[in-house]
């Protein structure tokens, strides 16, 4: 027998456990990428079904129906309509939640109309007994013209049976279970006559929404079959009613619920979590725990990573033969990699908390709780999710705005999200807080450094909200306000799902940002190790001549030479050039270099300082932090990183848009350069002014 590779598409409503089915089928054997040209996440996994059949399993974005209202949902339709796509499924698995079967079946009947072999996966079967649900599987299979896999991705049962069922995909019916054309027979008949070779339902989808498929020109179809928007919608309503009538008829026999058995855990929890006082108390308590623990818990692994890389760098320096290459490795590459890896603990913790909040169903309650308040600022309750995700990274956060139905609310959310404290700011904050804020406890329990960090987070949120308020007043955009949010069942987050999510996100961040950081570190090392003219070349003699009368140890002399060299290197000259602009903020030219190099990505700031101080400093104080703490301003004799300049730096990084990826994503999601450019000017200009004021007051 020949080996066979088949394509399996996983489709389903949000909150049906589709991704955990995906994880169960594929384990860690998955790849995450993007659909070409758009930023929708594309997840493909691999699974061996039998000794000679392998499956490529595609986890499509969650969607409520084939009538798309976002780019994510468009991906589903475009794939399902395009037979030539190399991922076009041989078989579709529609994943449903046994407790929401009625609503979940709507999408199922639509997929069936596309005449693809379709398996109905009924998930969360472990809750049936608890909810008093019984299913008549043979009856459902017969009337829905499908095969059913009753599974629990949580308890892990039914997965093997599902795999066996997929193998038999060729014998699974691809017949539609109802005919949607009865909603307007005349119209559909003429459509059928005009395009005899096309599937009627496909034509209908192309007419009703903004998707393209095959060589069929949208214009061509629409030209002769145009209907007014409201006529089309009336037909779509008819279609939806038709589908529900069919589903209700089938479920009348196929699904029985004994309401006396059902235990209602949801409403009790809802009463507390959306309570007018307790709801907010709990929400803010959760936020507080997240931020305190991120700072406290990640401290140990971060210190460990920091000191390990410092000793690795020393080791490389001492054990490799002296020369330019060794310098590049020990002073450019190793500190550069260390500067990336040091993020891992904090990023992982943030993603951990966010995925737990999302998996548990709590996030929707926060949306519900916050909508009215957020609307006062021109935002939506749904903006809370991007604003919280923004604490990990603005890129996925801006993508998460796609489910905000109102364009003005969505635009404002996109524009203000970069103010929230993303994880790239964390290393900058962490090192500066460690330098200028004492490590003491307030009121016996709160760590002062943790508290400062929390204040910075609140400042980020506050600024986001404040600018939203301003934008809401300025922007004149009229749009229909739609707001529909599903309130899913509460679920205990599954360890496997959370773990995979945390690993994926951390990996994507480290490799994505890592490439930039590493490249910049190497370039910086070159710029810091070479300089124009004779001053750099003859540093040794110049310093010797200058210090001929004083008695310096060999070590002190070496330090003086090194810092003189740095000052006259290419990067030193760049830093010196911008010094007049940044010295009112309390920064010297070395910090200036770090500010320039971190323009494309904030986290480069720490790596840059690490590289600069590795090049310029002595080997005795080898961790980055110690080197920075020891840095003295030769002009004033004071520490460079003192309270005033530290606060000024913290504020600068809190507000400035130092992130090229954010600009790129804003451009993509708003389809215009106007918004990212405005964002950059406003945020960075504001940051400069605030940092200036703060330093001038505090110094």
């Amino acid at each position: 027998m020949i080996n066979q590779n088949i394509n399996v598409a996983l489709i389903g409503n949000p909150n049906t456990g589709k991704t955990s089915v995906f994880n169960q089928l594929t384990g860690l054997n998955q790849q995450v990428g993007n659909y070409p040209g758009i930023t929708v996440e594309k997840k493909i996994g691999f699974c061996k079904l039998s000794h000679n059949i392998k499956a490529n399993i595609l986890d499509l974005p969650g969607t409520y129906s084939l009538n798309a209202s976002s780019i994510d949902e468009n991906v589903v339709i475009e794939l399902m309509l395009n037979k030539n796509d190399k991922l076009y499924p041989d078989v579709a698995l529609v994943v449903t939640d046994v407790e929401n079967l009625k609503r979940n079946l709507l999408l199922f009947t639509q997929i069936k109309d596309l005449e693809i072999p379709t398996i109905l996966v009924i998930n969360m079967a472990d809750r049936m007994a608890h909810k008093g649900i019984t299913l008549n599987i043979p009856y459902l299979e017969e009337h829905l013209k499908t095969k059913i896999a009753l599974i629990s991705s949580r308890k892990g049962f039914g997965i093997d049976e599902l795999k066996k069922l997929i193998v038999t995909y060729k014998s699974i019916s691809n017949e539609p279970c109802l005919s949607a054309s009865v909603i307007d027979p005349e119209y559909f008949n003429s459509l059928r006559k005009a395009f005899p070779n096309q599937l009627l339902y496909k034509l209908w989808l192309v007419i009703t929404q903004d998707v393209n498929f095959l060589n069929l020109e949208r214009k061509e179809i629409q030209g002769s079959f145009t209907k007014s928007h409201s006529d089309l919608k009336r037909l779509q309503q008819k279609e939806t009613i038709k589908r529900y009538q069919f589903i209700n008829d089938v479920l009348k026999e196929g699904l029985k619920v004994d309401a006396t058995i059902a235990k209602d855990f949801r409403s009790k929890l809802d009463r507390v979590l959306t309570h007018k006082i307790w709801g907010y108390v709990i929400f803010f308590a959760i936020l507080f725990v997240i931020f305190q623990s991120i700072f406290d818990w990640s401290k140990v692994p971060m210190d460990f990573i920091d000191s390990s890389f410092a000793s690795l760098s020393t080791l490389a320096n001492n054990s490799l033969p002296a020369g330019v290459l060794t310098n590049l490795i020990s002073q450019g590459i190793i500190p550069g990699i260390g500067g990336i890896l040091i993020f891992i603990p904090q990023i992982a913790f943030l993603f951990l908390f966010i995925s737990i909040l999302e998996e548990s169903g709590y996030m929707s309650r926060v949306v519900f709780l916050m909508d009215k308040i957020m609307r006062k600022f021109g935002l939506s309750g749904k903006s809370v999710v991007p604003l919280i995700s923004g604490t990990a990274c603005a890129i996925p956060a801006i993508m998460a705005t796609r489910n905000i139905e109102n364009w003005k609310e969505r635009l404002i959310t996109i524009l203000v999200t970069p103010f929230t404290t993303c994880s790239a700011r964390l290393p900058v904050y962490a090192i500066i807080i460690a330098l200028v804020i004492p490590d003491t406890r307030v009121l016996g329990v709160f760590n002062l450094q943790g508290l400062t960090l929390m204040l910075l987070y609140l400042l980020g949120f506050g600024m986001a909200i404040f600018s939203a308020y301003i934008l809401n007043k300025i922007l004149k955009i009229k749009g229909k306000t739609f707001f529909v949010v599903e309130m899913p069942n509460y679920k205990l987050p599954m360890f496997k799902n959370v773990a995979i999510n945390v690993i994926e996100k951390t990996k994507a961040f480290v490799f994505g940002a890592g490439k930039i950081i590493l490249a910049i570190s190497i370039v910086l090392w070159f710029l810091a190790s070479y300089g124009p003219g004779t001053k750099f070349k003859n540093a040794d003699e110049i310093i010797r001549a200058k210090t001929a009368n004083s008695t310096l140890s060999a070590q002190e002399l070496e330090n003086k030479v090194a810092s003189y060299k740095l000052e006259n290197s290419y990067i030193g000259i760049m830093g010196k050039t911008i010094e007049p602009a940044i010295s009112p903020l309390g920064y010297d030219w070395k910090i200036g270099i770090a500010v320039i190099s971190s323009f494309a990505a904030r986290e480069v700031f720490v790596g840059t300082l690490a590289t600069i101080y590795s090049v310029g400093g002595s080997d005795n104080e080898n961790t980055i932090k110690n080197k920075m703490a020891a840095e003295i301003n030769p002009a004033t004799g004071k520490k460079i990183f003192n309270f005033a300049s530290g606060i000024s730096l913290l504020l600068f990084y809190a507000f400035a848009l130092q992130c090229a990826s954010t600009l790129a994503i804003t451009r993509k999601e708003t389809n215009s350069w106007k918004w990212p450019v405005g964002q950059l000017i406003f945020m960075s200009g504001f940051a400069y002014i605030v940092a200036l004021i703060a330093y001038q007051i505090l110094k």
Binding site: Y64, S65, N67, S69, N100, K102, R103, L106, S230, K233, R234, Q236, Q237, T240, I241, Y244, R266, S267, D270, R271, T274, H275, K276, G279, Y280, S364, V367, F368, L369, D371, K372, I373, G381, E405, K480, T481, F482, F483, V484, V485, E486, M487, P488, N489
Partner: protein, 79 residues
């Protein structure tokens, strides 16, 4: 007086009668908000908006501005 979803009290059930199709998002229809289906007001958010509903078994939240467009008929509980 018109009875619409936003005039329900917490815990009250009603039958969806009619609405202006042009102001109701398709997504809401697909979630089960169709004439003849039942709707129950489960919770009201702290500042009076949005409303947390059980429509035809789907749990979802919508804003008052949408809720007031949907006419319903209250189901009287027999005593």
């Amino acid at each position: 007086m018109r009875t619409t979803i936003n005039s329900l009290k917490k815990g009250e059930k009603a039958i969806i009668k009619d609405f202006d199709i042009d102001v109701i998002p398709l997504k809401l229809l697909e979630m089960g908000c169709l004439p003849g289906n039942t709707v129950e007001l489960l919770q009201i958010a702290p500042f009076g908006d949005p409303l947390y509903l059980d429509i035809n078994g789907s749990h979802l939240a919508i804003r008052i501005e949408t809720a007031k467009e949907i006419d319903v008929e209250l189901i009287k509980i027999k005593l």
